[in-house]
Amino acid sequence: MHPNLHALLVFLQTWWVELVSGVVIVAVVPLIAGYLVLMERKLMADMQARLGPMRVGPHGLLQPIADAVKLLIKEDIIPDNADKLVFWLAPVVSMTAALTAMGAIAFGPTFQVARDINVGLLFVIGVSSLGLFGIVLGGWASNSHYSIMGALRSTAQLVSYETAAGLALVSGLLLAGTLNIRAIVDAQQHLGVWFVFLAPVAFFIYVVASIAETNRAPFDLPEAESELVAGYMTEYSGFRWALYFLGEYANMIVVGAVAATLFLGGWLRPFPNVRWMNWLDALPALSTAAVGVYCVWRAGKQPARVQTWFMWGVALACFAGALILGVPLLMAPLKFLVPGLHGAFWFLLKISAYIYLFMWLRFTLPRYRFDQLMHLGWYILIPLAIVNVLAVGVAMILETEYGWNRWLAMIATTIITLAAALFLMRLNDKREAAASSAAPPPEEASTEDSYAG
């Protein structure tokens, strides 16, 4: 056989799992992102006392498909003097960065595209931060003054909060001791506790910073509809806009995955080492079965027959899922499947909870003004993150060198960090009070009427 062909076959033989995983991610994630949009609309409707999309498909479940078709068949409009290469490139960069970052994330102990990268977490953060090129180039390519300003503002916001997010992750990494994703989760299993309980302030900072990273409310001024400019996405229509949007939701998944890996125990169940909590292992199968039972119960109450059938279908799918999750637990020869399946279940559950929190905050909180946003990032989050890193470091030294109890050390340092946070906020209030009393919006001689005449 030709040596090159042989080499290629050997390559495929060794790496086929990873290649297939990669293809699965690229194929499935946009679909999942589309359904995340639907979930957001339904959640928004639920919190706003209305129903959300109901017409397209049963309970609006085919809405993302309809939206995708609509966006694909829209006319492709490119502004007059826009730079065609960069205009085409920008949404692609945005989406590619998010998908590539997903390559290094372990969705369970067995599903990971790029296995055992030594710098796994750093890779995810670094590559997902390449998405901001999509924003800044997109704004520039639109050849509109407002798009450029919106893009620059968005980029400035992203860069500022990346710093805070990175520092918050450093606190978690101090506890983990490695950047390897697999090893981080193993460290949490070894310690028997999720890192969020050891460094809660770091987790909180990361949550806030990641909301700003993904341009979600309350930090979505650059893309808000009621502002004067619609931001960098103004001139994008049709599928280009869809790529941006999907990139944003894929970014949400990436950010949720990083938080789940580092702080929420990755694919570990709650209380991973506690033996008498082993009944939690049955939870995935039981909860899926419970959802199935609920669907069966609701199936009888549906007004239309097609909806009843659909509910039955969903129920069957739930029961099938419950079987897949539950049977390997019970049958010894299949037990090797358990870590993979259950790990994936817990991981996806954590990401879903994280994204649910994002959406919940979007519907509840008003929007920050841009200067308030930057102020929050630079004056409050970054100093707090730095203090947190120091505190966690001190706690670790206390534990290893001076033999303190781990929990005691961590609680002590959390209290110190919270005290620092209070101090920062007090400082902030004083600064604001001084600013507002000293200088009410600067008024030139109020007799000057710029438009008089």
């Binding site: 960069v86 030594n118 710098v119 890779f123 670094g126 390449l130 800044v136 520039w140």
Partner: protein, 172 residues
């Protein structure tokens, strides 16, 4: 064999992007091609099993410095520069210097191919199992042996940052 293919792919992309970068008239296009050059270089680092430098290249160079470049390009009025003819008189000097350097490198490569086991085109990679984890190794050296240069570098960066803030404040 696969190593060769990957290396030539990255190297080709790097050289092509570098060439495109210096020949574009549009500054943003130049920046985009510089980004691809840097990414290709990072790929070569990765192939050499230098993972930390690979990711540091991406985070710092591409994610930091290139963003800065693009900001500057966007905020500075470039329509003036676009209409000026740049470096017209130095084209030939540049070409001569490039050819001279290329000849030098070529001679070097050619003469070294005779040395067994130490060719430039196919580095003998240390088997992966023998390599210590990149980040830990680097951190160990940096904080243990080379602590003073590290601190000096960080003080330098701090001074630069403070200076930038002071200069910006003075403007407003």
């Amino acid at each position: 064999m696969l190593d060769k293919a990957i290396f030539f792919f990255f190297a080709g992309v790097a050289i092509l992007s570098a060439g495109l970068m210096v020949t574009r008239r549009n500054a943003i296009h130049s920046a985009v091609f510089l980004i691809t050059t840097l990414l290709a270089t990072a790929g070569i680092f990765l192939q050499l099993r230098a993972e930390f430098i690979f990711i540091a290249q991406i985070i710092l160079y591409v994610g930091g410095i290139m963003v800065l470049f693009i900001f500057v390009i966007m905020l500075v009025r470039l329509d003036v520069a676009l209409h000026q003819i740049q470096f017209s008189r130095q084209k030939w000097v540049a070409l001569f210097v490039t050819l001279a350097l290329a000849a030098e490198v070529g001679v070097m490569l050619w003469s070294s191919r005779k040395v067994p086991g130490q060719g430039f085109l196919l580095p003998n990679a240390v088997p992966a199992a023998k390599l210590l984890p990149n980040t830990e190794e680097l951190a160990g050296r940096l904080f243990d042996g080379y602590l003073l240069p590290f601190e000096i570098a960080s003080v330098l960066l701090l001074v630069a940052m403070v200076g930038a803030v002071v200069m910006a404040k003075k403007r407003t």
